[in-house]
Subunit: 207 residues, 2 copies
DNA sequence: ATGACGTTTGACCTTCCGGTCAAATACACG
DNA sequence: CGTGTATTTGACCGGAAGGTCAAACGTCAT
């Protein structure tokens, strides 16, 4: 029945800095090589720490990964939460597309970490998918369905509309190397995608 | 200067069967756990062979993976190859969408294997992306651009049109568990997607 | 400056994993 | 049958990887 060292005590300056450094290094590694493909030594090296030192701040590789996924999930849902049922339908949806694309552009590592996890069957976040995520999507899907029923956007299965937004925006982060390989040099994928997706969804949503 | 055993000799019945079994087992494993996340013992177990026995048929884990990727790439490009410059534009593109979605439905493991590889930066197939794939896409993009110039489909960046088809169709295979978690039971994602994507692209392409 | 607590480290342990090898067993074919 | 070749296997190897530990080193408040 011993007290857990860091349970109550506030984090020290060094703790805050090192935990942050470690999480950033781990995000680099996990998003590039996956969970199994990443070694603790690798993360430690990236973070500029020794392996035992790193394990002083996190109990295990698993724990670092879990922490990253938790932080990620919340940030991931934000743009959808911001979709306002009282707003103008097309503008709201296009705004969501834009925010989601910006997320892909500015946080591609997070996008790939998430994609990796889902690809492997989401073993560590299945509960969140079936709980939080489903609840939020169902809520917003209802909003979309109402808009469609009111003739303010075209009629379509709202869940799939949301999937299409995810698919199209995350593609630019997750498949970045393919996109760039196919486009060749001299392109700004995100800038081009921005205009293209805006047009696409404008046409799709028009009643 | 010794002869390579299997260089010339035709494969025996047992060789054919076992190589096939191994590749199938390896596809299961690699597509679920990634390259590093998969162990040779795991593949052997799935294939019902002992590890040394498996390594009698393939020189290394790497070789199995490479073989799978090679087989995959070809099958992956086929639907796009089939896009006919002489056909009716909208029908051709919708046909491509349908074929690609069927590929996701019928070969989700292959889709995830590919996604895994791209996510990790495509270390083993970068050459193919910049070579074969880019060439084919450029060729078909030119066809799309011609159709747009002739006013037979709406004007849009052809490469991104192709990306959008990839993104939307592969999403249903790669993010399958998320799609099902969000939809809940009692849905047939692919059937629903089929109708939705047909509408989406019909609207997008209309001049 | 000193004691207490926070931080860092080198050495080490164990398990896992890709791959090898020699010997044993099945198979095909004259 | 019998013999040469294909196939299978148990035992083993070396290195990588996750994690532990005791001791050394810093930091900071009194």
């Amino acid at each position: 029945m011993q007290d857990r060292q860091a349970a109550e005590r506030p984090l020290t300056r060094i703790q805050r800095k090192n935990r942050e450094t470690i999480l950033d290094a781990a995000l680099d590694a996990f998003s590039s090589y996956g969970f199994r493909g990443t070694t603790v030594d690798q993360i430690a090296e990236l973070a500029g720490l020794s392996k035992p030192n790193l394990l002083y701040y996190f109990p295990s590789k698993e724990a670092i990964h879990a922490e990253l996924l938790t932080l990620l999930l919340d940030a991931w849902l934000d743009p959808l939460r911001a979709l306002d049922p009282e707003g103008e339908p097309v503008a709201e949806i296009l705004g969501y597309v834009r925010r989601k694309l910006e997320l892909s552009r500015d946080y591609p590592r997070e996008s790939r970490l998430f994609a990796n996890e889902i690809l492997q069957g989401a073993p560590r976040i299945m509960a969140a998918l079936e709980g939080e995520l489903k609840a939020l999507v169902d809520e917003k899907a209802a909003v979309l369905a109402n808009w469609a029923a009111a003739g303010r956007i075209a009629d379509m299965p709202p869940h799939h509309l949301i999937f299409s937004i995810w698919a199209l925006t995350q593609h630019y982060a997750d498949f970045d190397v393919q996109v760039r390989a196919v486009l060749g040099p001299g392109h700004d994928p995100y800038a081009e995608a921005q205009g293209f997706l805006e047009t696409l969804f404008a046409k799709l949503l028009a009643p």
